[in-house]
């Protein structure tokens, strides 16, 4: 009898457990247009969308400094500086909502590898940060890259606007 009661309690507890406890983040949770603004006219825009079948995201970005566009790969926008995707990303921890991204910085001939962490209490906000920078010292492009630093800042709070 005790065993029956325990079994019933266990099954009841299992179904009573909120499904949110087992939530896994999906690529769709990252799709959209994300924006960071400095408050002094600097803006970073990231556009992310799923690549069908591959289980990854791709996308475009634009950075403007005090209203001047420095780097822009977003299709259909003026002052475009690069005409193909500049971001690739995949989820590395579905439970924690952690995305690993690769993004190009054309002005400095660099590529940043980093993470985007969705905030647990607001999935329309995310932390964007770099964990590794790849920079070549050999280049073919006649436009000589800038020598130091990075074009857009790091450690940003992104807000999904679309």
């Amino acid at each position: 009898m005790k065993l029956k009661i325990l079994s019933i309690v266990f099954i009841f507890a299992l179904f009573a457990c909120p499904m949110g406890s087992f939530a896994q983040y999906r690529l769709a949770d990252y799709e959209g247009i994300w924006r960071w603004t400095s408050g002094s006219g600097d803006t970073l825009l990231l556009g992310l969308k799923q690549i069908p079948v591959q289980g990854k995201l791709t996308g475009f970005h634009a950075f403007s400094q005090r209203g001047v566009v420095l780097d822009n790969s977003i299709p259909g926008t003026p002052n475009r500086t690069f005409d193909s995707a500049t971001i690739y990303a995949h989820i590395i921890d579905p439970a924690a909502g952690q995305l690993q991204y690769v993004i190009q910085d054309h002005l400095r001939n660099s590529i940043y590898i980093g993470k985007i962490d969705l905030l647990t209490n607001n999935r329309d906000k995310a932390i964007f940060y770099t964990t590794k920078t790849e920079r070549s010292h050999l280049f073919y492009d006649p436009n000589i890259p800038l020598s130091a630093g990075r074009t857009f800042p790091d450690n940003l709070v992104l807000v999904r606007i679309e």
């Binding site: 193909s84 590794k132 280049f139 073919y140 130091a148």
Partner: protein, 158 residues
Amino acid sequence: MSGTAAGVSTTGLSTGIDGFYHNHLAGWEQTFSLVDIAQMYQALAQPGHINNLSIFTLGVVLSDGRVQLARISDPSTFMSFGSSYLGSSNFPGFLNTVTPLFNNATTADQRTAATIKAFAGSGLTFYEGDANSLSQGFQRIDATTSSALEIIRTKCSN
């Protein structure tokens, strides 16, 4: 070629070259950067930039005195690999695919092994020597096929 604070540009290169060597200072990647290899494809695998693809070597001198070389041992395979993964538009996708190899690579050997694994099937062969005792010669370096990031060093006979 002209050097700038940002690096070396091959634009306007008037004659083919046989190799390109650079250094990685302390705190930089202690092996080839993946983007070094991509730029080798983008910058040098252009008509007239390399005298002979099969003898061209890309070299990096590391802060601990090691010297690593990448040789295009199979030019047609390298050009095919480069066309698929190392162009300016498809390299970020390649990087995103191989970056997980580096997530647990902390030592110089592990990062070298991860780099070699990233370029598996690329037609490249990697070598390593010690700048402080070059008379000891170079060793071919390969990554083990296991998931562990380990290097197999094979002494070059000549």
